[in-house]
Symmetry: C2
Subunit: 136 residues, 2 copies
DNA sequence: GTAGATGCAAAGTATTTGCGACAAG
DNA sequence: CTTGTCGCAAATACTTTGCATCTAC
C-alpha cells in the first residue's frame, strides 16, 4: 500500500486544512475518476458546509502539486484521479461511460520516438481510446 | 487536390447558406487548427454581419456531418480542422502552442490491439503528445 | 500573530438556445 | 410556400475570484 494523499501533502509542504483532509480522503478512496460535481457530492456527505469553490481550489492545488491528475475526456466535465507511480492511459466505453485503465509500454516508447523524430522532448501526453463492447 | 468543404456539404445534403459558404471557405483554406474565436475573426473580415452563434452552430453541424473534427487540447478552447482521408495525431509545442501533425501506423495498430485485448472495438481515439523543443 | 484558506456570491469564459425575421430549395 | 437558418440577446454550464472572516502552523 502506498502513501495516502494526506501523506503526500505533508511531504510536499501543502497546508492541511479540515476541508483538504476530507477531499484528500475521498480522492484516496475513490477508485473511479470523479468530476468536481461528483467529488463535491461525496465530500458534502462528510461535511455539508464545504463549498464547491473550495473543491475547485483544492483539486487545482493538488493538480499543481502533482498529487492529482486531470482528464478532459470527450465532451464532458473535467475528471480527476490520484496520480501515482503507475502511469496508465484510458479506454472509455462510449455506451456506458465505463473507464478502463491500461498500460502499454510499447505505445509509450513509440510516442517518445515520434516526439524525438520531430526534435522534441516529450513532457506529457494524452491517449484515450473510445470503444464499444464486442458482441460475443 | 481533394474536395472543398462546400462540395462535401453538397455531397452530404447540408444546406448551403451564404454564411456556411464563408465558414466553409475559411476552414478549407486554413492550414492550422483555429478555435471558434479565431474562425469568427477570419469570417468577420469577409462578412462582418455573421454572428458568433452562427459560427458555433455551423462548426457543430459540420462536425456532426463528418466534415470537421474537433480537438480539445489541454486547457484551451476547442479547435477545429477539416476532416479528410488522412488521419493524423498531434504533437503540441507546450511553449509556443505550435501544432505538428503526425502519423504513426505502428501506434495505430497497437491501439486497436489494446482495445481488442479488453473486448472492445475501437471507434475513436485521441492521441496528443506535448513536448518542448530540444536544445541543439 | 500572520499568511494563507474558506464561504459566499458575483464575475468570468465558452457555448447553447428561444424567438421573431429572413432566405434556400 | 415552407422548413430550416440567422442575428440578437438572454440563458446555461463550468470554473474562477474579490472580499471579509477564520484557521493552521
Amino acid at each position: 500500500m502506498s502513501e495516502t494523499i494526506e501523506q503526500k501533502c505533508i511531504a510536499k509542504g501543502v497546508k492541511l486544512t479540515d476541508q483538504r483532509k476530507i477531499i484528500a480522503k475521498v480522492m484516496s478512496e475513490a477508485n473511479d475518476h470523479p468530476n468536481v460535481d461528483e467529488l463535491y457530492n461525496r465530500v458534502s456527505k462528510i461535511d455539508s458546509k464545504i463549498s464547491i469553490a473550495t473543491v475547485y481550489r483544492t483539486v487545482k492545488l493538488f493538480e499543481e502539486s502533482g498529487i492529482l491528475t486531470k482528464h478532459e475526456f470527450k465532451g464532458g466535465k473535467a475528471r480527476y484521479e490520484e496520480l501515482n507511480e503507475s502511469h496508465h492511459d484510458h479506454l472509455i466505453d462510449v455506451k456506458s461511460g465505463e473507464i478502463i485503465e491500461f498500460v502499454d509500454q510499447e505505445i509509450e516508447n513509440l510516442q517518445k520516438k515520434v516526439a524525438e523524430k520531430y526534435g522534441y522532448d516529450l513532457v506529457d501526453h494524452k491517449l484515450e481510446l473510445y470503444g464499444v463492447k464486442k458482441k460475443p
